[in-house]
Symmetry: C2
C-alpha cells in the first residue's frame, strides 16, 4: 500500500482561509494540463475529513467527483451522500488496516495528514503551491516537531501553480 | 528601487528550527548550479535582522560573503564586523528612504520581511524549498492576514531544492 497527499496550498502553507473557504484557490485560475488525471487513475481509496467533505458536497454532482475510488470520510455523523462512506476512529489505525495493495489518496485536511506523517505512513506528497499569501488560515502541515526528509522527484509549473512531487526517503 | 526576498525554507515554511539553527538546510546538500550568482550580482543593498547576521558572523570570513553590496543589520547593538552596518528603526521607513534606483535583497528574517510585505514593498520573491518537514521553527511568512497575490514567473529544480520565483502582481 502507498499513501499519498495530493493537494493545493498557498505559498504560506494554508489549505484554506480561517473560515475554511477556498476563494484564493478559485481566483488563481485553472489550468487544463495537470497531472491530476494520471494521479487519480492510480488511486483506489480516498480519505478526507469532514470539512473537506463539506466542500466537496457543496459542489455540483459530488458523487461524480471521485467516481472510481472508495471514498472514506472521517466523521462522527452521517453523510447522506451517495459515493462516500462515513468512518470513525484514528486515521493511523484505519490506514494500517486497509488492504496492502491499495493506493490511498489523503485529500485533506490537516487532521488526517498530520497523524499519518507522524506515523511515517505518507509515501508521497504532490503539493501544488498557489501564488498567494493569506497570512492566516488552516495550515496544511500540523504534524509534530520532528525533522522528516523526503526526496524531491520533480518540479513542474501548471499555469500559476508550482507543483512539487516528493517521495519518502 | 526593487526589493526582493531570496532564501530557503522547509516544505512546511520554516526559515530555521526553534533554536534558530539551520542543520536541516546543511543536511539537504548543496548544488553548484543555482541562480544565486546572477541574483546577487544585481543587488546593491542587503537587509537582515540580528539573528540572520549572527548566523553569517558564525561563518568563515563573514566580510567576504556579501562583498559587493552595502549590508545593513537591524539591531539595537553594535556589530564589530567589517562590511556590515548597524541600523535601527522601522524596516518599512528604512526601505522607503533608500535611493530609488537600488536593488535591495531582504536576506531575513521574518521580522524584516513581514512589515515589508504588509506595506506592499516586496517586488519579488525567490524561494528555495528544501525537502524537509520540521514541524516547528521560525516561520518565513508572518505578515498580517490579507490575501496578497503574486505572479509565478518560474519554477526550477536545483539538486534537492525546488525554486519558485515570484514577482508582484
Amino acid at each position: 500500500m502507498s499513501v499519498f497527499f495530493y493537494g493545493c496550498v498557498t505559498l504560506d502553507g494554508y489549505l484554506a482561509d480561517k473560515n475554511h473557504r477556498l476563494d484564493w484557490l478559485h481566483e488563481t485560475g485553472g489550468t487544463e494540463d495537470t497531472g491530476y488525471e494520471d494521479f487519480y487513475r492510480k488511486m483506489d481509496i480516498t480519505l478526507m475529513g469532514r470539512r473537506t467533505f463539506r466542500e466537496i458536497q457543496g459542489m455540483e454532482n459530488p458523487e461524480e467527483i471521485y467516481p472510481t475510488t472508495v471514498n472514506y470520510v472521517f466523521t462522527h455523523g452521517t453523510l447522506e451522500q451517495k459515493g462516500f462512506l462515513p468512518v470513525t476512529g484514528d486515521a493511523e489505525d484505519f490506514v494500517r488496516n486497509l488492504p496492502k495493495e491499495k493506493n490511498v489518496w489523503v485529500i485533506g485536511g490537516n487532521t488526517i495528514l498530520a497523524p499519518l506523517l507522524d506515523a511515517g505512513l505518507i509515501d508521497g506528497m504532490i503539493v501544488q503551491i498557489a501564488p498567494v499569501l493569506l497570512g492566516a488560515g488552516i495550515p496544511l502541515f500540523t504534524q509534530k516537531e520532528a525533522a522528516m526528509r523526503f526526496h524531491l522527484d520533480k518540479v513542474s509549473q501548471y499555469g500559476q501553480f508550482a507543483e512539487l512531487a516528493y517521495s519518502r526517503k
